[in-house]
């Protein structure tokens, strides 16, 4: 391809509403990796809430919108394993009975990536220019881990952040209990899973917990703060993009 790769950012509905800083961190990281970044306006959500609720009709309609909005870019990158997984793994399944749409879904899927795995596996980034003098632990979000094999990449890049000490989280691969609508439909079960997760986090002695999915981070931050914990919560992109000085952690008061 001629010139730098054209990346379209899939913002994700949660980042859009709750924490645009993650979107800007993603843009910074992608530009630092030599990409140009655009943000198609005709995107709202990947459709996963409808899909996981069994509303295939709406899921397909939203998917068609996404496929159209992201046509023509070299890559589509999302700061979320669950949204990237929805496009990459589930859009082709959604259109299994529709060969024409299936072909378009496959084509988009092939270009779609979770942010950190895009940086490491596609752009070959092996270090970032960032500092964060904290003890940090990392939670593996389920979709990123199991659908997209995001495991080693964030750890590798965090290892290059100046002053950062990474402590492995026991049960890092255990679900935090967010699961989208699951968190509100089965709140006690979701709450128990969150309690177990924050107990594991606290046991590491870390000052801060990171993950690659804002859904997980809202769940974890919400439970930590309800429990009166001082442990900070951030999206891994904020640390890698050296934004920890500029943006308060998730759930913290804003100046």
């Amino acid at each position: 391809m001629a010139g730098p790769p054209r990346v379209a950012l899939l913002v994700t509905c949660l980042v859009d509403l709750f924490r645009p800083s993650i979107g800007f961190a993603a843009v910074n990281l992608l530009e630092a990796a030599g990409c140009t970044v655009e943000v198609p306006r005709a995107q709202t959500c990947c459709g996963q809430p409808a899909y996981n609720s069994g509303d295939k009709t709406d899921a397909k309609a939203i998917a068609r919108q996404v496929i159209a909005a992201f046509a023509g870019y070299d890559y589509v990158v999302a700061p979320s394993g669950s949204c990237a997984g929805m496009v990459k793994v589930h859009y082709p399944e959604l259109f299994a009975d529709d060969p024409a749409m299936r072909a378009q879904a496959d084509e988009l899927a092939a270009r779609t990536w979770e942010l950190v795995s895009f940086l490491v596996d596609v752009r070959g980034v092996d270090a970032v220019n960032a500092a964060c003098r904290q003890v940090v632990t990392y939670h593996d979000s389920c979709s990123g881990l199991r659908e997209l094999k995001v495991k080693e990449q964030p750890r590798r890049l965090l290892g290059t952040v100046e002053g950062l000490e990474l402590k492995e989280l026991p049960g890092a691969e255990t679900c935090c209990g967010f699961g989208g609508t699951f968190a509100v439909k089965y709140p006690e079960i979701s709450g128990k899973m969150a309690s177990d997760k924050i107990a594991d986090i606290a046991a590491t002695g870390a000052d801060c917990v990171l993950a690659g999915d804002l859904g997980c981070l809202l769940q974890i931050a919400g439970r930590l703060s309800r429990a009166g914990s001082q442990i900070q919560v951030r999206h891994v992109a904020e640390v890698l993009a050296d934004m920890t000085g500029a943006v308060p952690p998730i759930g913290a008061p804003r100046p």
Binding site: C175, G177, M193
Partner: protein
């Protein structure tokens, strides 16, 4: 057994609040995954075997009619008899008839989930026949009049204090002052109490982990030896098995056996893996005189042509239960029937209907760990989602969720409207939550804020900020 799946939410809450269950599941939730991981580490070919296991099962299901007929012919050739049962009623009747034919008074049972499914014990008892569970876990819950809470470790929800209490209450002929606080003592007592029952039984009923079409054999996989005593000592051996237990050849069984024990308990092989073919042979000094197989459909043939066909691959290893954060949080009884955990969430609606068991496929965060440990690669989250699709299409979803979702989806297909609404919401909640950074309570969000704070949005939407940034960049360019 009568389902209580409709009461899932209440039962799950009760499970979460039960301190004994918490302790018991805490032990199991750590032990099982650790042992499975160790077993996998010792067998480099494990992943390849999963793929082969899946292929064997898929092939079998695609030719299930052929293999069932061949299996039947071979059972008969070996001197056994085959009874076909469309549903629970026919299965119970078949078993009762066989028991009556020899005037059976006592029936010993190896562990069988299908027997639970058809509510066999109550039926036998109502007809004057005493069923005696011999698997230690099943025996304990039989004494407690509880259903099993796990498909291979039925009493996993109990701590040893409760077993002690149960044995004291039930074994009244023994010295009340005897010491049975520790596991070795409890096991020894169960062994001593059950041995006379094994010897007195007129009929022994086992399940089957596999039915081999090539030879007309049944295979049971146990650790205690109770299944073997059950099927060897009495005059009659009845195998109660569902139709999808068929496996084509002995070699296919070997592959699946390599997957089964490792996935279930982390053992290389169970203590006793036993293959039975027909009754005793002329000249044999022991063994049953009659061998009967009751083949149970009870909803499985209907699954063959459905979007749930892949569930028929299930080996009943319980790896999915052991690795499920929901199961290990709420325990098996919350699921309300025979099959809990992820496999139960898919199978139960198929067998008793999605109206009865509707919560089961919904009470999942789709973390996907179940699918990742399933020895035959059943796509459990996808199958649960299939149930959710059926519920949505059949309007079995609560209107408040359905309407809210459809409204949200309608807006989501109108990006400019959506962006405006998100920006309004971001500004409002961002402003309200700025000082504390989070909400302890939020209207319409009680489901969340009951147990968690809600972090406040940053105050602008990404798209609004990005548009600002683009405009500022353009203005700079124009200067």
């Amino acid at each position: 057994m009568d389902p209580t799946s409709r009461a899932f939410l209440d039962n799950a809450r009760a499970g979460l609040a039960d301190p004994v269950l918490r302790r018991a599941l805490g032990i199991a939730g750590v032990g099982f995954p650790a042992r499975r991981a160790e077993a996998m580490a010792r067998l480099p070919e494990f992943e390849a075997l999963r793929e082969q296991g899946k292929a064997i099962k898929d092939h079998t299901i695609a030719h299930l009619d052929f293999y069932l007929e061949r299996y039947e012919a071979n059972v008969i050739a070996a001197g056994g008899m085959v009874h076909w049962a469309r549903d629970a009623g026919e299965a119970r009747a078949a078993v009762l008839d066989i028991c009556r034919s020899v005037g059976a008074k006592i029936v010993t049972k190896g562990k069988s989930m299908v027997a639970e499914e058809i509510a066999l014990n109550d039926h036998l008892a109502a007809n004057g026949i005493t069923p005696v569970e011999t698997d230690l876990g099943e025996y304990i819950i039989q004494l407690r009049h509880e259903p099993p809470s796990h498909i291979i470790a039925p009493a996993i929800h109990l701590m040893k204090e409760q077993v002690t209490e149960t044995f004291r209450a039930a074994h009244t002929a023994l010295d009340p002052a005897r010491a049975i606080a520790e596991a070795p003592q409890l096991c020894a007592e169960a062994r001593a109490v059950l041995r006379p029952q094994f010897l007195a039984a007129d009929v022994g009923i086992t399940g089957a982990n596999f039915l081999i079409a090539e030879t007309g054999s049944s295979i049971i996989v146990t650790n205690e030896g109770n299944g073997d005593l059950t099927q060897t000592l009495p005059k009659i051996h009845i195998v109660l098995a569902s139709i999808e237990k068929i496996v084509p050849t002995l070699e296919d069984a070997a592959t699946l056996l390599r997957l089964l024990a490792r996935s279930a308990t982390g053992q290389e092989f169970s203590s006793y893996t036993t293959m039975s073919t027909g009754p005793r042979r002329p000249g044999d000094l022991d063994g049953p005189e009659q061998y009967h197989v009751v083949l149970v459909d009870n909803g499985r043939s209907a699954m063959v042509g459905s979007e749930f066909r892949e569930m028929l691959r299930c080996l009943r290893c319980a790896a999915c239960l052991n690795h499920c954060p929901v199961y290990t949080a709420i325990g098996g009884h919350a699921y309300g029937w025979v099959y809990p955990g992820p496999m139960g969430a898919v199978l139960t609606p198929a067998l008793i209907g999605v109206a009865e068991a509707g919560d089961l496929p919904n009470a999942s965060s789709f973390c996907g760990r179940c699918e990742s440990v399933c020895p035959v690669k059943i796509p459990l989250p996808k199958l649960m989602r299939n149930w959710r699709e059926r519920q949505f299409a059949q309007r079995l979803v609560a209107p408040r969720y359905r309407d809210a979702l459809r409204l949200w989806a309608w807006v989501a297909q109108r990006p400019e409207l959506y962006h405006r609404m998100v920006e309004v919401k971001a500004r409002l909640l961002g402003w309200l939550g700025k000082r504390r950074g989070r909400f302890r309570a939020l209207p319409l969000a009680g489901g969340w804020t009951g147990l968690r704070d809600m972090p406040a949005p940053e105050g602008r939407s990404f798209h609004a900020l990005w548009a600002d940034r683009q405009r500022a960049a353009q203005r700079r360019q124009l200067r």
